[in-house]
């Protein structure tokens, strides 16, 4: 085991790799700090470029982007009351009131909490992932099929107001995964004689289309004209001892919350940050200052949403199930680099696993150093006008898409996917189930076939294996939950009406 740690650590601390982590973190912070750009958008655009860097450096750069973008969102949330990403919406509540009299103090608390949250979750990943992988080593085809369905159902259940729209999104993703030559029968499916489609639908053009290009179209639709050109002077860049003492228990508690939330497939930083904030407020001895600039109100959401980064990698690396949309992009990127996340990854490529874990730790350290050192520069980024930013996003979408396969048709496919995705998002269709469906589709289909061969064509195999049975039951319950909640609320409403009469 020790030789894997040493080998992984030696690779992470190479100057080139440290430089790409730093660069990735800078890109992530900049993207996160620009309202309208999301961490997923940054990840999708950067992913194709990382292929030029080669295996480990590319992955390490992505980890930098992953961490940096979550943190970056807090900068504009604190300074101009506009969250750079959805993850930082809760930070506005106390961050902005504090920044009106001491912006440097608010940013310093945010940086400290974000760094701690990220490091805590990276250590949680280091200690828990190998144990979970050992358990998952006993998984067979029925368990993998059930796990895929479970992952999809969790995302589907919470990502849209309409349960049908959520399920439809997942089916669209699964259906897209069937396009191309079937690996088992060798027959082409839904390729319509096109050589381009024979190879299947590529992840990256679809991801860039629905997350980055569609987001660019939203920016064009909104056309935010007011520019945040507030000249902000930061009075300090490091937290005070009093703030460290006051926020430490909150940061620790919310880091645990964020790590757990991140490890649950289908959740994300936004849920973690709101949950962290409400819990910090609930358990505070004096909660009267929450909403008026309480340091714990900044520390709680920031430590929770940054802790999601390590938590989300736990199911990703051990089971191949992404914890959120950001880790779904990571999964696609890892697979393209030849790293197939599964319990066997810890057996077959242990050094790669520890490179990812140590890389995440290094990325969080870089994020902290950049946060404390470069906050004065990052705080100016929100002033970049949209008329310059949006076309640049489009150019990067196209270049990023092309870089993957050097095929101009990928650019056209990305544009079509983005346009369709934009209208589907407007109609409340969530994109994470589509992406997860596309990623998990081949695993689900392959294991369904294998399980049916093993059971001689009986579906009972999925219910006679305990883990598979439990996962399928949870999947069904999570899909039914919105319907159950709807009927319970309806019944409650009727009871209240009757009581009022």
């Amino acid at each position: 085991m020790m030789e894997y740690f040493v080998s992984a650590l030696t690779q992470v601390v190479q100057p080139l790799n440290l430089a790409v982590i730093l660069l990735g973190t800078i890109v992530g912070i900049l993207a996160g700090a620009m309202p309208g750009l999301s961490s997923i958008m940054a990840l999708t655009i950067v992913t194709p470029f990382t292929f030029s860097l080669g295996g480990n450096s590319g992955i390490l750069m992505l980890l930098g982007v992953f961490c940096g973008a979550i943190y970056g969102g807090s900068i504009t949330a604190i300074l101009i009351n506009t969250p750079g990403t959805a993850n930082s919406a809760a930070t506005c509540l106390d961050g902005y009131p504090m920044s009106r009299h001491s912006p440097g103090r608010a940013l310093a608390i945010s940086t400290m909490a974000s760094t701690f949250g990220g490091l805590f979750s990276a250590l949680a990943l280091f200690f828990t992932a190998p144990m979970l992988a050992k358990v998952a080593l006993n998984f067979g085809a029925p368990e993998y099929f059930a796990l895929g369905i479970f992952g999809l159902s969790i995302v589907t259940g919470i990502s849209s107001k309409s349960v049908f729209k959520g399920i439809i999104g997942a089916i669209i993703g699964l259906a897209l995964a069937t396009v191309g030559i079937d690996v088992i029968s060798g027959q082409p499916r839904f390729a319509f004689g096109s050589v381009y489609l024979m190879g299947g639908i590529a992840y990256i053009p679809l991801l860039i289309g629905v997350y980055a290009f569609a987001q660019g179209l939203t920016l064009i639709e909104e056309k935010v004209t007011e520019k945040a050109k507030k000249d902000i002077k930061l009075e300090r860049i490091l937290p005070t001892w009093a703030d460290i003492k006051k926020t430490s228990p909150t940061i620790l508690g919310c880091s645990v919350i964020g790590t757990i939330i991140g490890a649950i497939p289908g959740t994300g930083g936004d849920i973690a940050s709101w949950l962290g904030y409400t819990q910090a407020k609930r358990f505070a001895k004096d909660s009267s200052q929450f909403g008026k600039g309480d340091p714990r109100g900044i520390a709680a959401p920031e430590s929770a949403n940054n802790a999601v980064s390590g938590g989300a990698l736990i199911p990703l690396l051990t089971l191949g199930i992404p914890g959120d949309a950001g880790s779904a992009v990571m999964l696609g990127a890892l697979m393209m680099q030849g790293i197939i996340p599964s319990p066997l990854l810890f057996e077959n490529q242990p050094v790669q696993v520890y490179i990812i874990i140590f890389g995440l730790i290094a990325a969080n350290i870089c994020m902290g150093l950049l946060g404390f050192g470069g906050i004065r520069i990052f705080s100016k980024i929100s002033g970049v006008p949209k008329e310059i930013l949006t076309p640049i996003i489009f150019v990067f979408c196209c270049v990023g898409t092309f870089c993957m396969n050097h095929n101009v048709y990928d650019i056209f496919f990305m544009l079509i996917a983005g346009a369709v995705g934009y209208f589907l998002i407007k109609l409340d269709f969530a994109m994470p189930p589509v992406i997860l469906g596309l990623i998990l589709g081949p695993t689900i289909e392959k294991n369904l076939q294998k399980a049916l061969v093993l059971s001689d064509g009986s579906f009972s195999i999925f219910f006679t294996h305990p883990i598979s049975c439990v996962l399928i039951v949870i999947a069904v319950v999570s899909l039914m939950l919105p319907l159950i909640t709807y009927f319970v609320k309806k019944k409650q409403g009727k009871n209240e009406e009757a009581a009022a009469e």
Partner: protein, 150 residues
């Protein structure tokens, strides 16, 4: 939104039927050897049921019709123009290459978003193209699309 929900449900219904019909002639030897057609058929059936479910859910909803897509709004008009720009960009990229397409796209989008300063309108695409050329063509040795004419 009701109208659009019905349109989406109808389109998905057709897609679902298409998936089932399109894999009809795939070999199937029972559940122990399902072949390549079983899974798409299953998905097609699920899509069909969900599209009917979506249509029913929309019809039974008592809440007022929430308009989320208004093709007459200024914002949507800009989006449609942007999509038109991307179509022209695609054609230009395919025929004349990526840099010509990018020059047109960046200028058009900047004008669409309200930029009127001529110096900026010229400087932004030139700056972007130089950056892309240096990073991708010179440093990363990526040959961006040169177009069928060149």
């Amino acid at each position: 939104m009701k109208k659009y929900n019905y349109i989406v449900a109808a389109v998905l219904l057709v897609v679902g039927i298409g998936m089932i019909v399109g894999t009809m002639d795939f070999p199937y030897h029972g559940l122990s050897d399902i072949g390549g057609g079983f899974w798409p058929k299953l998905l097609g059936g699920a899509l069909l049921l969900c599209s009917i479910g979506l249509a029913l859910e929309t019809a039974l909803k008592k809440q007022p019709d929430e308009v989320t897509i208004d093709f007459r709004s200024e914002g949507m008009k800009r989006v449609l123009i942007a999509l038109g720009i991307m179509v022209v960009f695609s054609v230009l990229t395919y025929i004349l290459g990526f840099f010509v397409g990018t020059f047109f796209m960046v200028i058009s989008c900047a004008i669409l978003l309200g930029e009127r300063n001529k110096v900026k309108l010229l400087a932004i695409p030139v700056g972007v193209i130089v950056f892309i050329y240096v990073v991708f063509e010179m440093v990363l040795h990526t040959n961006l699309p040169a177009g069928i004419l060149f």
